[in-house]
């Protein structure tokens, strides 16, 4: 058996002249929680749609659980579960009726169906509200039920597409715990999000995706470590004296410095110490600082560093 449960090679999805996904290649290992981190419109959902046989790739190949998504879609579909970004539930039906329906779609019936529905309701903490109409549920409860509907048939791979959009912090934590529990039980999870905290907390590895391309792929620790000690943005009044940028680059705590829209972007190995040295330098050179921003090293900063924009832009 291959070490990887998902292997994508040069995946492309075109809509007319627009390329939503531009040649993605990656592999996800068995039992891994793999994150797609990127802003809205980056191509995360389109990629999941191709991996789950909803969309046919315009180019490239993808093997999921040992089967080609184009050549053997039914084989792939039996082995995956999808929790879409939308609340894919029937609001007027009860939680149990919704799960019964989706369970039957996956071929469960009789005692096995009842047992799986009970287990799943218990797992997402909705056993006591099983008979309630979904339209009466809170946002968090609906999200949990949305996840439950993707788990009924015990998939080998679970695609979670932005599962925490619009939920309160308490429900978000509950969802994190479910994901961790499912993964501990051996389920491989592909998790898309534009919240860097979620990627950092849940994912073994993260692919940072922007404009249909993977721009970085590694463990959250390694991605952050590669960035160094953080980023400092400085606004400087009256332009910048000749040679000041070189002096900044020469500081021992600074890894790189560039001009960016009238600001100076400084990549530091140690942000706090670099800040002290920078302020001392500006003092010596009579440079007025009009704005100062210190970005702690995290995935958000990594994204900003790589793309020049924030995840939630």
């Amino acid at each position: 058996m291959s070490e990887n449960i998902i292997e994508a090679q040069g995946l492309v999805k075109r809509y007319g002249d627009v390329e939503a996904v531009r040649g993605l290649s990656f592999a996800i290992r068995h039992g891994e929680v793999f994150g797609f981190l990127g802003p809205n419109g980056a191509g995360k959902t389109t990629t999941i749609s191709m991996l789950s046989c909803l969309l046919e790739p315009s180019d490239g190949t993808a093997i999921v659980a040992g089967h080609d998504v184009v050549k053997a879609p039914q084989q792939v579909k039996r082995r995956i579960g999808l929790v879409p970004q939308e609340l894919a539930l029937y609001p007027t039906l009860s939680a149990r009726d919704n799960l019964n329906f989706y369970g039957r779609i996956y071929g469960l019936h009789g005692r096995a169906l009842r047992q799986r529905v009970d287990e799943t309701l218990e797992m997402v903490g909705l056993a006591e509200r099983a008979s309630g109409a979904v339209e009466t549920f809170s946002g968090g409860m609906k999200r949990r039920l949305n996840i439950a509907a993707g788990l009924l048939h015990c998939p080998e791979v679970l695609f979670l597409d932005e599962p925490t959009v619009g939920v309160d912090p308490q429900s978000r934590n509950a969802i994190f715990e479910h994901v961790e529990r499912l993964n501990a039980a051996g389920m491989t999870i592909l998790y898309t999000t534009h919240y860097m905290e979620e990627a950092e907390r849940l994912c073994h590895r993260v692919a940072i995706i922007d404009q249909g391309r993977i721009i970085a792929l590694d463990t959250p620790y390694k991605l952050v470590a590669d960035l160094g000690g953080g980023i400092i943005h400085l606004g400087v009044a009256n332009g910048m004296a000749e040679g000041l940028l070189d002096q900044i680059r020469a500081l021992p705590e600074v890894r790189a410095a560039t001009r960016l829209d009238g600001k100076v972007k400084v990549e530091a190995t140690r942000a706090q110490e670099a800040l002290v040295s920078l302020l001392a330098l500006f003092n010596r050179t009579d440079t007025d600082v009009t704005a100062l921003e210190v970005l702690e090293p995290n995935l958000e900063t990594v994204f900003l560093h790589l793309t020049g924009k924030r995840l939630r832009d």
């Binding site: 909803l54 029937y90 071929g107």
Partner: protein, 412 residues
């Protein structure tokens, strides 16, 4: 506050005009309805001298000359176009029956071989009648037949009476001469009485062979199938909107990820609406039968047409769902299709009252075939064998709708 109102109005106008298909349907729908209804009802509402002429096939078997005289007078009436030949052959009785039974003509007239002889025989026998046969489709309403019947009868009666006048005058004068002198006034009175006795001509209404019972449709037999078919096709909008809602709310996405082939998924969406359709038919016909005493004909034949009709309606529902991308498009397209096809298919206006080309168009709609199927059962008394062509065509429509829908259905 006005600025806010205008902002909202502008925003909604932009959204509406981005949906070109939806807007087109909003304009097309009333336009199509106006065109179809106006054209379909042309023959009914036009006074006759400017509108579409009513074709009247006439078979002349008369060995004398009176029928020819009557036919010539009929041909002179505005709005009537007498047809004594068909495809360059003199019209025969068999051909006239076929024209009526095939639905090409609603009515045909047959002047029998002894027409002139019987009229002239009236002089010898006061009870003698010259019979004209009116071949009609039993499904055609009396409202349509009555004016034609009246016209043919009136012309034939006038020709007959005119033909009898010289002989009667002669006989009357002879009588006068016998009684002269002194009693001339008596036979003159008798002549007046004789002249008032009309009905030399008798009309007999018959159905073409094979069109079982000669029962004319009452208003229920016309309207119940008409509005049932009309109503059954309204499922198209409900069904297509449901599919669109599933797509928009993500439930369809989840179903498409499940290991279900697309045709199965679409069939699953189709079945509940199919059952609702059957329920609609059962309720409509049930009410007509139990409350208004409408005879239902042979149950197996009625069931066959109903099953096929529901399949065609739900098939169209799935197909419409693949064309509409917004709720506006779906509802507009559904209304456009259902109203136009209902009018074309004879649900709202009987097809026999339509011009020829509209009658031909009716054959391209499932509504037309369903109407014909139901009327075969209810009015013409056909059984399962008699309605199989209509049921087969309806199932053909269903199959085409469904297969095109499966082919067109796209997640993206």
């Amino acid at each position: 506050m006005l600025r806010q109102v205008l902002s909202i109005t502008w925003k909604d106008l932009k959204i509406l005009f981005k949906d070109i298909g939806g807007m087109a349907v909003l304009f097309l729908m009333p336009m199509m309805f106006i065109i179809v209804m106006s054209t379909a009802l042309q023959g009914t509402f036009d006074p006759g001298d400017t509108g579409q002429p009513r074709h009247l096939p006439v078979v002349n078997l008369d060995s004398g000359g009176l029928a020819a005289e009557a036919i010539a007078q009929l041909d002179n009436i505005d709005g009537i176009e007498v047809e004594t030949a068909w495809e360059d052959e003199p019209l025969t009785r068999e051909r006239a029956e076929a024209l009526v039974s095939d639905g090409d003509r609603a009515v045909a007239v047959v002047f029998p071989a002894d027409f002139s002889a019987r009229v002239e025989g009236r002089l010898e026998d006061a009870e003698a009648r010259a019979t004209i046969e009116l071949i009609t489709d039993p499904a055609v309403s009396t409202q349509f037949i009555a004016p034609i019947q009246g016209m043919v009868f009136g012309v034939a009666e006038r020709v007959a009476e005119t033909a009898l006048i010289p002989a009667r005058l002669e006989a009357g004068l002879a009588e006068v001469l016998t009684h002269l002198p002194g009693e001339a006034q008596i036979p003159l009175d008798e002549m007046t009485i004789e002249a008032e006795e009309t009905n030399v001509v008798h009309m007999e209404q018959v159905a073409p062979p094979g069109m079982g019972i000669e029962v004319f449709p009452d208003s229920y037999q016309q309207n119940v199938p008409g509005y049932t078919v009309f109503g059954v096709f309204f499922i198209v909008a409900t069904m297509a909107e449901s599919i669109l809602r599933e797509k928009q709310e993500g439930t369809f996405r989840r179903l498409l990820v499940a290991p279900l082939p697309k045709p199965i998924l679409l069939a699953g969406k189709l079945l509940p609406y199919y059952l609702v359709n059957l329920l609609q038919v059962a309720v409509m016909f049930g009410v007509a039968h139990f409350l208004f005493g409408m005879a239902l004909g042979q149950p197996a034949a009625l069931l066959a047409v109903s099953l096929a009709l529901a399949a065609a309606a739900t098939g169209l529902g799935v197909l419409v769902a693949t064309f509409g991308k917004t709720q506006t498009q779906i509802s507009g397209l559904s209304v456009l299709l259902t109203l136009t096809m209902s009018a074309m298919g004879g649900c709202l206006v009987p097809t026999f009252a339509m011009p020829d080309f509209m009658q031909t168009l009716a054959r391209f709609t499932p509504h037309g075939w369903a109407m014909q199927g139901f009327q075969d059962v209810l009015v013409r008394g056909y059984g399962l064998v008699g309605v199989w062509p209509e049921a087969a065509v309806l199932l053909g429509f269903a199959a085409v709708f469904f297969l095109v829908a499966v082919w067109r259905f796209r997640f993206d």
